[in-house]
Protein backbone atom coordinates (compact mmCIF):
# COMPACT_ATOMS: atom_id res chain seq x y z
CA UNK A 1 0.00 0.00 0.00
CA UNK A 2 1.42 3.36 -0.96
CA UNK A 3 1.94 5.85 1.85
CA UNK A 4 -1.10 7.80 2.88
CA UNK A 5 0.72 10.79 4.29
CA UNK A 6 1.33 13.57 1.80
CA UNK A 7 4.95 14.08 0.77
CA UNK A 8 5.59 17.43 -0.90
CA UNK A 9 8.38 16.10 -3.11
CA UNK A 10 6.12 13.50 -4.71
CA UNK A 11 3.32 16.02 -5.10
CA UNK A 12 5.60 18.42 -6.91
CA UNK A 13 7.04 15.70 -9.11
CA UNK A 14 3.52 14.69 -10.02
CA UNK A 15 2.80 18.29 -10.89
CA UNK A 16 5.87 18.31 -13.11
CA UNK A 17 4.72 15.20 -14.93
CA UNK A 18 1.28 16.65 -15.47
CA UNK A 19 2.80 19.87 -16.72
CA UNK A 20 4.55 17.92 -19.44
CA UNK A 21 1.21 16.48 -20.48
CA UNK A 22 -0.27 19.95 -20.36
CA UNK A 23 2.33 21.29 -22.72
CA UNK A 24 1.70 18.43 -25.09
CA UNK A 25 -2.03 18.86 -25.35
CA UNK A 26 -2.45 22.59 -24.97
CA UNK A 27 0.02 23.97 -27.50
CA UNK A 28 -2.67 25.77 -29.44
CA UNK A 29 -4.15 27.33 -26.32
CA UNK A 30 -0.74 28.41 -25.12
CA UNK A 31 -0.07 30.06 -28.47
CA UNK A 32 -3.36 31.96 -28.21
CA UNK A 33 -2.54 33.02 -24.68
CA UNK A 34 0.92 34.17 -25.68
CA UNK A 35 -0.48 36.11 -28.59
CA UNK A 36 -3.13 37.81 -26.48
CA UNK A 37 -0.62 38.92 -23.86
CA UNK A 38 1.80 40.19 -26.50
CA UNK A 39 -0.98 42.10 -28.27
CA UNK A 40 -2.06 43.74 -25.04
CA UNK A 41 1.47 44.83 -24.20
CA UNK A 42 2.06 46.13 -27.74
CA UNK A 43 -1.10 48.21 -27.53
CA UNK A 44 -0.11 49.60 -24.16
CA UNK A 45 3.38 50.39 -25.45
CA UNK A 46 2.00 52.30 -28.42
CA UNK A 47 -0.28 54.13 -26.03
CA UNK A 48 2.74 55.05 -23.95
CA UNK A 49 4.37 56.43 -27.08
CA UNK A 50 1.32 58.60 -27.78
CA UNK A 51 1.23 59.82 -24.21
CA UNK A 52 4.96 60.56 -24.31
CA UNK A 53 4.52 62.61 -27.45
CA UNK A 54 1.89 64.72 -25.73
CA UNK A 55 4.18 65.17 -22.75
CA UNK A 56 7.14 66.10 -24.92
CA UNK A 57 5.11 68.64 -26.86
CA UNK A 58 3.92 70.09 -23.62
CA UNK A 59 7.48 70.42 -22.43
CA UNK A 60 8.45 72.69 -25.33
CA UNK A 61 8.60 76.35 -24.34
CA UNK A 62 7.18 79.08 -26.57
CA UNK A 63 10.11 81.04 -28.01
CA UNK A 64 9.93 84.87 -28.16
CA UNK A 65 12.32 87.59 -29.20
CA UNK A 66 12.66 89.45 -25.92
CA UNK A 67 11.01 86.89 -23.69
CA UNK A 68 7.52 88.40 -23.71
CA UNK A 69 4.80 85.95 -24.54
CA UNK A 70 1.69 88.06 -23.98
CA UNK A 71 0.85 91.68 -24.58
CA UNK A 72 -2.03 93.16 -22.60
CA UNK A 73 -3.54 96.35 -24.00
CA UNK A 74 -4.58 98.81 -21.31
CA UNK A 75 -7.64 101.04 -21.31
CA UNK A 76 -6.83 104.58 -22.43
CA UNK A 77 -8.48 106.25 -19.44
CA UNK A 78 -6.92 103.93 -16.88
CA UNK A 79 -5.44 106.07 -14.07
CA UNK A 80 -1.75 105.70 -13.30
CA UNK A 81 -2.47 104.32 -9.84
CA UNK A 82 -4.74 101.69 -11.29
CA UNK A 83 -2.16 100.85 -13.90
CA UNK A 84 0.50 100.36 -11.23
CA UNK A 85 -1.83 98.24 -9.15
CA UNK A 86 -2.63 96.07 -12.18
CA UNK A 87 1.05 95.64 -12.91
CA UNK A 88 1.72 94.62 -9.30
CA UNK A 89 -1.16 92.14 -9.43
CA UNK A 90 0.19 90.52 -12.60
CA UNK A 91 3.68 90.20 -11.14
CA UNK A 92 2.23 88.29 -8.19
CA UNK A 93 0.76 85.62 -10.51
CA UNK A 94 2.84 82.45 -10.15
CA UNK A 95 3.13 81.90 -13.90
CA UNK A 96 4.39 85.43 -14.58
CA UNK A 97 8.11 86.07 -14.54
CA UNK A 98 8.13 89.78 -15.27
CA UNK A 99 5.85 92.55 -16.47
CA UNK A 100 7.02 95.57 -18.39
CA UNK A 101 4.89 98.65 -18.92
CA UNK A 102 5.26 100.12 -22.34
CA UNK A 103 3.77 103.58 -22.74
CA UNK A 104 2.09 104.74 -25.92
CA UNK A 105 4.99 106.97 -26.96
CA UNK A 106 7.53 104.24 -26.37
CA UNK A 107 5.42 101.82 -28.32
CA UNK A 108 5.22 104.25 -31.23
CA UNK A 109 9.00 104.66 -31.18
CA UNK A 110 9.44 100.88 -31.30
CA UNK A 111 7.06 100.63 -34.20
CA UNK A 112 9.05 103.28 -36.08
CA UNK A 113 12.20 101.23 -35.49
CA UNK A 114 10.53 98.04 -36.64
CA UNK A 115 9.19 99.66 -39.80
CA UNK A 116 12.62 100.93 -40.74
CA UNK A 117 12.53 102.70 -44.11
CA UNK A 118 8.76 102.72 -44.08
CA UNK A 119 8.57 104.63 -40.81
CA UNK A 120 7.37 107.68 -42.69
CA UNK A 121 3.90 106.19 -42.75
CA UNK A 122 3.65 107.16 -39.09
CA UNK A 123 4.38 110.84 -39.78
CA UNK A 124 1.61 113.02 -38.51
CA UNK A 125 0.29 110.40 -36.11
CA UNK A 126 -1.17 112.11 -33.09
CA UNK A 127 -0.13 111.41 -29.54
CA UNK A 128 -1.83 108.54 -27.87
CA UNK A 129 -2.16 106.68 -31.16
CA UNK A 130 -1.00 103.49 -29.56
CA UNK A 131 -2.34 102.45 -26.17
CA UNK A 132 -0.16 101.62 -23.25
CA UNK A 133 0.61 97.93 -23.02
CA UNK A 134 1.95 95.45 -20.54
CA UNK A 135 4.45 92.96 -21.93
CA UNK A 136 4.26 89.80 -19.87
CA UNK A 137 6.91 87.08 -19.82
CA UNK A 138 6.07 83.73 -18.28
CA UNK A 139 8.14 81.74 -15.82
CA UNK A 140 10.68 79.32 -17.32
CA UNK A 141 10.72 75.62 -16.55
CA UNK A 142 8.02 73.15 -17.55
CA UNK A 143 6.24 75.17 -20.19
CA UNK A 144 3.03 74.48 -21.97
CA UNK A 145 2.32 75.72 -25.42
CA UNK A 146 -1.29 76.35 -24.46
CA UNK A 147 -0.51 77.73 -21.02
CA UNK A 148 -0.34 81.22 -22.45
CA UNK A 149 -3.92 80.70 -23.68
CA UNK A 150 -5.11 80.07 -20.16
CA UNK A 151 -3.33 83.11 -18.81
CA UNK A 152 -4.64 85.27 -21.66
CA UNK A 153 -8.17 84.16 -20.81
CA UNK A 154 -7.69 85.28 -17.24
CA UNK A 155 -6.12 88.60 -18.24
CA UNK A 156 -8.99 89.49 -20.56
CA UNK A 157 -11.31 89.36 -17.55
CA UNK A 158 -9.23 91.74 -15.48
CA UNK A 159 -10.43 95.29 -15.01
CA UNK A 160 -8.43 97.78 -17.09
CA UNK A 161 -7.33 95.34 -19.84
CA UNK A 162 -9.09 95.69 -23.18
CA UNK A 163 -7.39 92.90 -25.09
CA UNK A 164 -4.58 90.40 -24.84
CA UNK A 165 -2.41 89.36 -27.73
CA UNK A 166 -0.35 86.18 -27.84
CA UNK A 167 3.07 86.46 -29.41
CA UNK A 168 3.18 83.17 -31.24
CA UNK A 169 4.93 81.93 -34.28
CA UNK A 170 3.55 79.43 -36.72
CA UNK A 171 5.63 76.70 -35.05
CA UNK A 172 4.05 77.54 -31.73
CA UNK A 173 0.57 77.23 -33.18
CA UNK A 174 1.53 73.88 -34.64
CA UNK A 175 2.81 72.73 -31.28
CA UNK A 176 -0.43 73.73 -29.61
CA UNK A 177 -2.49 71.80 -32.13
CA UNK A 178 -0.19 68.80 -31.83
CA UNK A 179 -0.47 68.82 -28.06
CA UNK A 180 -4.24 68.98 -28.08
CA UNK A 181 -4.43 66.20 -30.66
CA UNK A 182 -2.03 64.02 -28.74
CA UNK A 183 -3.93 64.44 -25.51
CA UNK A 184 -7.18 63.45 -27.15
CA UNK A 185 -5.51 60.49 -28.84
CA UNK A 186 -3.96 59.51 -25.54
CA UNK A 187 -7.31 59.50 -23.75
CA UNK A 188 -8.92 57.42 -26.48
CA UNK A 189 -5.90 55.15 -26.53
CA UNK A 190 -6.09 54.57 -22.77
CA UNK A 191 -9.66 53.38 -23.08
CA UNK A 192 -8.86 51.16 -26.05
CA UNK A 193 -5.78 49.73 -24.39
CA UNK A 194 -7.65 48.89 -21.20
CA UNK A 195 -10.38 47.23 -23.23
CA UNK A 196 -7.81 45.24 -25.20
CA UNK A 197 -5.98 44.27 -22.03
CA UNK A 198 -9.21 43.09 -20.44
CA UNK A 199 -10.13 41.13 -23.56
CA UNK A 200 -6.67 39.59 -23.71
CA UNK A 201 -6.88 38.66 -20.04
CA UNK A 202 -10.25 36.97 -20.51
CA UNK A 203 -9.10 35.09 -23.60
CA UNK A 204 -5.95 33.94 -21.88
CA UNK A 205 -7.87 32.88 -18.79
CA UNK A 206 -10.31 30.89 -20.91
CA UNK A 207 -7.40 29.27 -22.71
CA UNK A 208 -5.71 28.21 -19.50
CA UNK A 209 -8.73 27.20 -17.47
CA UNK A 210 -8.84 23.52 -16.84
CA UNK A 211 -12.38 22.22 -17.23
CA UNK A 212 -13.87 21.14 -13.94
CA UNK A 213 -14.57 17.69 -15.40
CA UNK A 214 -10.87 17.22 -16.06
CA UNK A 215 -10.10 18.43 -12.55
CA UNK A 216 -12.53 15.87 -11.10
CA UNK A 217 -11.01 13.13 -13.22
CA UNK A 218 -7.47 13.97 -12.15
CA UNK A 219 -8.48 14.25 -8.51
CA UNK A 220 -10.09 10.84 -8.71
CA UNK A 221 -6.87 9.39 -10.09
CA UNK A 222 -4.88 10.70 -7.14
CA UNK A 223 -3.58 14.08 -8.27
CA UNK A 224 -3.32 16.60 -5.47
CA UNK A 225 -4.77 20.10 -5.58
CA UNK A 226 -1.37 21.57 -6.25
CA UNK A 227 -0.61 19.10 -9.02
CA UNK A 228 -3.82 20.02 -10.83
CA UNK A 229 -3.78 23.77 -10.31
CA UNK A 230 -0.13 24.77 -10.12
CA UNK A 231 0.70 23.93 -13.75
CA UNK A 232 -2.04 26.31 -14.86
CA UNK A 233 -0.74 29.03 -12.60
CA UNK A 234 2.86 28.52 -13.70
CA UNK A 235 1.93 28.41 -17.36
CA UNK A 236 -0.20 31.52 -16.93
CA UNK A 237 2.65 33.41 -15.39
CA UNK A 238 5.13 32.19 -18.02
CA UNK A 239 2.79 33.21 -20.82
CA UNK A 240 2.29 36.62 -19.28
CA UNK A 241 6.02 37.22 -18.95
CA UNK A 242 6.79 35.87 -22.42
CA UNK A 243 3.96 37.89 -23.93
CA UNK A 244 5.14 41.00 -22.12
CA UNK A 245 8.70 40.53 -23.38
CA UNK A 246 7.49 40.05 -26.94
CA UNK A 247 5.17 43.02 -26.64
CA UNK A 248 7.90 45.18 -25.16
CA UNK A 249 10.31 44.31 -27.98
CA UNK A 250 7.68 45.11 -30.60
CA UNK A 251 6.76 48.29 -28.74
CA UNK A 252 10.36 49.47 -28.62
CA UNK A 253 10.60 48.75 -32.32
CA UNK A 254 7.48 50.87 -32.83
CA UNK A 255 9.11 53.71 -30.90
CA UNK A 256 12.22 53.45 -33.07
CA UNK A 257 10.13 53.59 -36.20
CA UNK A 258 8.22 56.55 -34.78
CA UNK A 259 11.42 58.48 -34.23
CA UNK A 260 12.84 57.52 -37.60
CA UNK A 261 9.73 58.66 -39.47
CA UNK A 262 9.42 61.85 -37.46
CA UNK A 263 6.02 61.08 -36.03
CA UNK A 264 7.66 61.16 -32.68
CA UNK A 265 9.82 64.27 -32.43
CA UNK A 266 13.43 63.34 -31.86
CA UNK A 267 14.48 63.19 -28.29
CA UNK A 268 17.41 65.53 -27.77
CA UNK A 269 19.66 63.11 -25.95
CA UNK A 270 19.08 60.33 -28.45
CA UNK A 271 18.02 57.88 -25.76
CA UNK A 272 14.73 56.04 -25.60
CA UNK A 273 12.23 58.24 -23.80
CA UNK A 274 11.17 55.64 -21.28
CA UNK A 275 10.91 56.97 -17.79
CA UNK A 276 11.83 54.84 -14.81
CA UNK A 277 8.30 55.16 -13.47
CA UNK A 278 6.90 53.80 -16.74
CA UNK A 279 9.18 50.80 -16.59
CA UNK A 280 8.23 50.07 -12.99
CA UNK A 281 4.59 50.41 -13.93
CA UNK A 282 5.03 48.01 -16.84
CA UNK A 283 6.74 45.49 -14.61
CA UNK A 284 3.92 45.68 -12.08
CA UNK A 285 1.43 45.24 -14.90
CA UNK A 286 3.20 42.09 -16.05
CA UNK A 287 3.23 40.68 -12.51
CA UNK A 288 -0.44 41.54 -12.08
CA UNK A 289 -1.29 39.95 -15.41
CA UNK A 290 0.60 36.78 -14.55
CA UNK A 291 -0.96 36.54 -11.12
CA UNK A 292 -4.42 37.07 -12.55
CA UNK A 293 -3.92 34.38 -15.15
CA UNK A 294 -2.61 32.01 -12.53
CA UNK A 295 -5.61 32.66 -10.30
CA UNK A 296 -7.97 32.03 -13.17
CA UNK A 297 -6.17 28.79 -13.87
CA UNK A 298 -6.40 27.71 -10.22
CA UNK A 299 -9.98 28.46 -9.34
CA UNK A 300 -11.88 26.05 -11.61
CA UNK A 301 -9.56 23.22 -10.61
CA UNK A 302 -10.35 23.79 -6.96
CA UNK A 303 -14.04 24.10 -7.68
CA UNK A 304 -14.02 20.79 -9.54
CA UNK A 305 -12.46 19.03 -6.59
CA UNK A 306 -14.95 20.59 -4.19
CA UNK A 307 -17.76 19.18 -6.30
CA UNK A 308 -16.15 15.76 -6.27
CA UNK A 309 -15.69 15.57 -2.55
CA UNK A 310 -18.93 17.17 -1.47
CA UNK A 311 -21.18 14.96 -3.60
CA UNK A 312 -23.47 12.94 -1.44
Amino acid sequence: MRGLSPRPSIALRGAWALRLLDLGCRRRRLAVTLGCCAFAVVTLTILAAIAFRATWVQARSVPTGDGAELVAFLRDDLPVASRDALTAALVRLPEVARVRLLGGDEALSRMRRDLGDRASVLDGVEEGFLPATLEIALQPGRQGADRADAIAWRLRRMEGITDVDLLRTADDERLVRAEVTSRRAGRIGIGLALAVAALALCLAALALRRPSSDARLLSGLGFTTAAIAVPGAILGGMCAVAGALIGTCVGVLALRVGFATGWLTSFPSGRLPVAASSMVGSLLLVVLLGASLGWWGWRPSGRGMDELESAG
Binding site: M1, R2, G3, L4, S5, P6, I10, R13, G14, W16, A17, L18, L20, L21, G24, C25, R26, S213, D214, L217, L218, S219, G220, L221, G222, F223, T224, T225, A227, L308, E309, S310, A311, G312
Partner: protein, 227 residues
Protein backbone atom coordinates in the same frame (compact mmCIF):
# COMPACT_ATOMS: atom_id res chain seq x y z
CA UNK B 1 -18.77 -5.18 3.84
CA UNK B 2 -15.16 -6.23 3.89
CA UNK B 3 -12.78 -6.90 1.03
CA UNK B 4 -9.44 -8.50 1.82
CA UNK B 5 -6.29 -8.88 -0.22
CA UNK B 6 -6.61 -11.69 -2.70
CA UNK B 7 -10.39 -11.60 -2.54
CA UNK B 8 -12.87 -11.07 -5.39
CA UNK B 9 -16.26 -9.64 -4.43
CA UNK B 10 -18.98 -9.50 -7.05
CA UNK B 11 -21.81 -7.08 -6.31
CA UNK B 12 -24.98 -7.95 -8.09
CA UNK B 13 -27.94 -5.66 -8.29
CA UNK B 14 -30.48 -4.14 -10.57
CA UNK B 15 -31.00 -0.56 -11.55
CA UNK B 16 -30.77 2.03 -8.73
CA UNK B 17 -29.60 -0.62 -6.29
CA UNK B 18 -26.75 1.60 -5.17
CA UNK B 19 -23.84 -0.22 -6.77
CA UNK B 20 -22.17 2.88 -8.17
CA UNK B 21 -22.52 4.87 -4.99
CA UNK B 22 -21.18 2.00 -2.92
CA UNK B 23 -18.10 1.76 -5.12
CA UNK B 24 -17.59 5.53 -5.03
CA UNK B 25 -17.74 5.50 -1.25
CA UNK B 26 -15.31 2.60 -1.10
CA UNK B 27 -12.94 4.43 -3.45
CA UNK B 28 -12.91 7.65 -1.37
CA UNK B 29 -14.70 9.52 -4.12
CA UNK B 30 -17.87 10.18 -2.19
CA UNK B 31 -18.51 10.81 1.47
CA UNK B 32 -21.00 8.48 3.18
CA UNK B 33 -23.99 9.96 4.97
CA UNK B 34 -23.23 7.78 7.97
CA UNK B 35 -20.91 5.01 9.01
CA UNK B 36 -17.22 4.55 8.47
CA UNK B 37 -15.01 3.61 5.56
CA UNK B 38 -11.63 2.14 6.33
CA UNK B 39 -8.89 1.37 3.84
CA UNK B 40 -5.94 -0.49 5.28
CA UNK B 41 -7.21 0.31 8.78
CA UNK B 42 -7.29 4.01 7.99
CA UNK B 43 -10.68 5.57 8.65
CA UNK B 44 -11.19 7.97 5.78
CA UNK B 45 -13.19 10.32 7.98
CA UNK B 46 -10.14 10.94 10.12
CA UNK B 47 -7.89 11.81 7.20
CA UNK B 48 -7.33 15.38 6.13
CA UNK B 49 -8.80 16.41 2.83
CA UNK B 50 -5.35 16.86 1.35
CA UNK B 51 -4.60 13.20 2.10
CA UNK B 52 -7.49 11.79 0.07
CA UNK B 53 -5.66 11.97 -3.26
CA UNK B 54 -3.00 9.75 -1.75
CA UNK B 55 -5.68 7.24 -0.79
CA UNK B 56 -7.06 7.26 -4.32
CA UNK B 57 -3.64 6.39 -5.72
CA UNK B 58 -4.06 3.01 -4.10
CA UNK B 59 -7.42 2.44 -5.74
CA UNK B 60 -7.90 1.48 -9.36
CA UNK B 61 -11.38 2.74 -10.20
CA UNK B 62 -13.30 1.97 -13.36
CA UNK B 63 -16.42 4.05 -13.78
CA UNK B 64 -19.56 2.92 -15.49
CA UNK B 65 -18.73 5.46 -18.20
CA UNK B 66 -14.97 5.92 -18.15
CA UNK B 67 -13.89 9.51 -18.67
CA UNK B 68 -10.69 10.57 -20.36
CA UNK B 69 -8.86 13.78 -21.07
CA UNK B 70 -9.68 14.27 -24.73
CA UNK B 71 -6.61 16.31 -25.62
CA UNK B 72 -4.14 13.49 -24.95
CA UNK B 73 -3.83 9.99 -26.35
CA UNK B 74 -5.18 6.82 -24.81
CA UNK B 75 -1.68 5.82 -23.74
CA UNK B 76 -1.17 9.14 -21.95
CA UNK B 77 -4.54 8.73 -20.27
CA UNK B 78 -3.56 5.25 -19.08
CA UNK B 79 -0.30 6.73 -17.75
CA UNK B 80 -2.13 9.32 -15.63
CA UNK B 81 -2.31 7.24 -12.41
CA UNK B 82 1.42 6.68 -12.69
CA UNK B 83 2.01 10.38 -13.33
CA UNK B 84 0.12 11.10 -10.13
CA UNK B 85 2.72 9.03 -8.31
CA UNK B 86 5.54 10.82 -10.14
CA UNK B 87 6.79 7.58 -11.66
CA UNK B 88 9.50 7.92 -14.32
CA UNK B 89 7.98 8.57 -17.70
CA UNK B 90 9.69 5.65 -19.47
CA UNK B 91 8.67 3.17 -16.81
CA UNK B 92 5.14 4.57 -16.76
CA UNK B 93 4.86 4.15 -20.52
CA UNK B 94 5.98 0.53 -20.29
CA UNK B 95 3.51 -0.17 -17.51
CA UNK B 96 0.70 1.49 -19.44
CA UNK B 97 1.43 -0.53 -22.57
CA UNK B 98 1.53 -3.69 -20.49
CA UNK B 99 -1.86 -2.86 -18.99
CA UNK B 100 -3.33 -2.20 -22.43
CA UNK B 101 -1.90 -5.48 -23.59
CA UNK B 102 -3.60 -7.37 -20.77
CA UNK B 103 -7.02 -6.22 -21.98
CA UNK B 104 -6.12 -6.61 -25.66
CA UNK B 105 -6.14 -2.87 -26.43
CA UNK B 106 -2.50 -2.15 -27.33
CA UNK B 107 -3.58 -0.97 -30.75
CA UNK B 108 -5.54 1.88 -29.17
CA UNK B 109 -2.49 3.46 -27.52
CA UNK B 110 -1.99 6.26 -30.05
CA UNK B 111 -5.66 6.96 -30.60
CA UNK B 112 -7.54 9.94 -29.24
CA UNK B 113 -10.25 9.04 -26.73
CA UNK B 114 -12.85 10.76 -28.85
CA UNK B 115 -12.29 8.27 -31.63
CA UNK B 116 -12.97 5.17 -29.52
CA UNK B 117 -16.14 3.16 -29.33
CA UNK B 118 -17.89 2.46 -26.06
CA UNK B 119 -16.30 -0.96 -25.68
CA UNK B 120 -12.85 0.39 -26.49
CA UNK B 121 -13.27 3.16 -23.94
CA UNK B 122 -14.20 0.60 -21.33
CA UNK B 123 -11.15 -1.52 -22.10
CA UNK B 124 -8.95 1.57 -21.91
CA UNK B 125 -10.54 2.51 -18.59
CA UNK B 126 -9.83 -0.95 -17.20
CA UNK B 127 -6.24 -0.70 -18.43
CA UNK B 128 -5.87 2.65 -16.69
CA UNK B 129 -7.06 1.13 -13.43
CA UNK B 130 -4.62 -1.76 -13.80
CA UNK B 131 -1.60 0.31 -14.87
CA UNK B 132 -0.50 1.22 -11.38
CA UNK B 133 -1.09 -2.30 -9.96
CA UNK B 134 -3.15 -0.86 -7.11
CA UNK B 135 -3.96 -3.05 -4.13
CA UNK B 136 -7.67 -2.31 -4.52
CA UNK B 137 -9.63 -2.48 -7.74
CA UNK B 138 -13.19 -1.16 -7.93
CA UNK B 139 -15.02 -1.74 -11.18
CA UNK B 140 -18.48 -0.52 -12.04
CA UNK B 141 -20.14 -2.69 -14.67
CA UNK B 142 -16.90 -3.62 -16.48
CA UNK B 143 -18.58 -5.95 -18.97
CA UNK B 144 -21.03 -3.38 -20.36
CA UNK B 145 -20.68 -2.93 -24.12
CA UNK B 146 -18.10 -5.74 -24.27
CA UNK B 147 -18.32 -8.89 -26.35
CA UNK B 148 -18.26 -12.26 -24.67
CA UNK B 149 -14.63 -12.71 -25.61
CA UNK B 150 -13.61 -9.34 -24.19
CA UNK B 151 -15.62 -9.98 -21.04
CA UNK B 152 -13.78 -13.25 -20.57
CA UNK B 153 -10.44 -11.53 -21.07
CA UNK B 154 -11.33 -8.87 -18.52
CA UNK B 155 -12.40 -11.50 -16.02
CA UNK B 156 -9.12 -13.39 -16.41
CA UNK B 157 -7.19 -10.12 -15.89
CA UNK B 158 -9.15 -9.45 -12.71
CA UNK B 159 -8.50 -12.93 -11.38
CA UNK B 160 -4.83 -12.40 -12.25
CA UNK B 161 -4.85 -9.26 -10.10
CA UNK B 162 -6.48 -11.22 -7.30
CA UNK B 163 -3.75 -13.82 -7.49
CA UNK B 164 -1.22 -11.01 -7.24
CA UNK B 165 -2.72 -9.96 -3.94
CA UNK B 166 -5.15 -7.24 -4.94
CA UNK B 167 -8.66 -6.94 -3.59
CA UNK B 168 -11.23 -6.68 -6.37
CA UNK B 169 -14.75 -5.40 -5.88
CA UNK B 170 -16.82 -5.55 -9.01
CA UNK B 171 -20.40 -4.38 -9.52
CA UNK B 172 -22.40 -5.64 -12.45
CA UNK B 173 -25.95 -6.10 -13.64
CA UNK B 174 -24.78 -8.64 -16.25
CA UNK B 175 -25.93 -12.00 -14.92
CA UNK B 176 -23.66 -13.93 -17.26
CA UNK B 177 -20.63 -11.98 -16.12
CA UNK B 178 -21.60 -12.44 -12.49
CA UNK B 179 -22.10 -16.15 -12.95
CA UNK B 180 -18.73 -16.52 -14.66
CA UNK B 181 -17.03 -14.63 -11.86
CA UNK B 182 -18.70 -16.75 -9.21
CA UNK B 183 -17.67 -19.92 -11.03
CA UNK B 184 -14.09 -18.60 -10.97
CA UNK B 185 -14.19 -18.19 -7.24
CA UNK B 186 -15.66 -14.74 -6.65
CA UNK B 187 -17.85 -14.16 -3.62
CA UNK B 188 -21.31 -13.03 -4.57
CA UNK B 189 -23.14 -10.21 -2.81
CA UNK B 190 -26.51 -8.87 -3.76
CA UNK B 191 -27.41 -5.21 -3.42
CA UNK B 192 -30.99 -3.96 -3.28
CA UNK B 193 -32.15 -0.51 -2.33
CA UNK B 194 -28.76 0.34 -0.87
CA UNK B 195 -28.63 -2.73 1.35
CA UNK B 196 -26.44 -5.78 0.94
CA UNK B 197 -28.23 -9.08 0.93
CA UNK B 198 -26.89 -12.55 1.19
CA UNK B 199 -23.57 -11.56 2.75
CA UNK B 200 -22.52 -12.59 6.20
CA UNK B 201 -22.96 -8.99 7.51
CA UNK B 202 -25.30 -6.28 6.28
CA UNK B 203 -23.59 -3.34 4.58
CA UNK B 204 -24.44 -0.58 7.04
CA UNK B 205 -23.11 0.84 9.21
CA UNK B 206 -19.50 0.11 8.28
CA UNK B 207 -17.39 -0.88 5.37
CA UNK B 208 -13.81 -2.01 5.47
CA UNK B 209 -11.37 -2.67 2.70
CA UNK B 210 -8.20 -4.45 3.69
CA UNK B 211 -5.32 -4.58 1.27
CA UNK B 212 -1.89 -5.85 1.98
CA UNK B 213 1.63 -5.34 0.73
CA UNK B 214 4.09 -2.68 1.77
CA UNK B 215 4.93 0.10 -0.64
CA UNK B 216 8.56 -0.98 -0.99
CA UNK B 217 7.65 -4.62 -1.65
CA UNK B 218 5.18 -3.72 -4.35
CA UNK B 219 7.55 -1.22 -5.91
CA UNK B 220 10.35 -3.78 -6.18
CA UNK B 221 7.92 -6.38 -7.53
CA UNK B 222 6.76 -3.86 -10.14
CA UNK B 223 10.24 -3.08 -11.33
CA UNK B 224 11.32 -6.72 -11.44
CA UNK B 225 8.46 -7.37 -13.84
CA UNK B 226 10.06 -5.14 -16.43
CA UNK B 227 11.79 -6.96 -19.31
Amino acid sequence: MEAHAGQFLMLEGGRAAGKTKLLEIAGARRRPNSGAVCIADHDLATLQRDSLPFVRRNVGFVEARPRFISQISVLDNVMLPLAACAEPVAWAREAALRALGKVGAVGLATWAPGALSASELRLAGIARALAGTPPLLLLDDPSASLTAGDSGAVLSVLFGAVESGAAVVCASADLAFVAAAVRGGARRLRLEGGCLLGGPVPMTPSMSVVAGGGASERASARRQALP
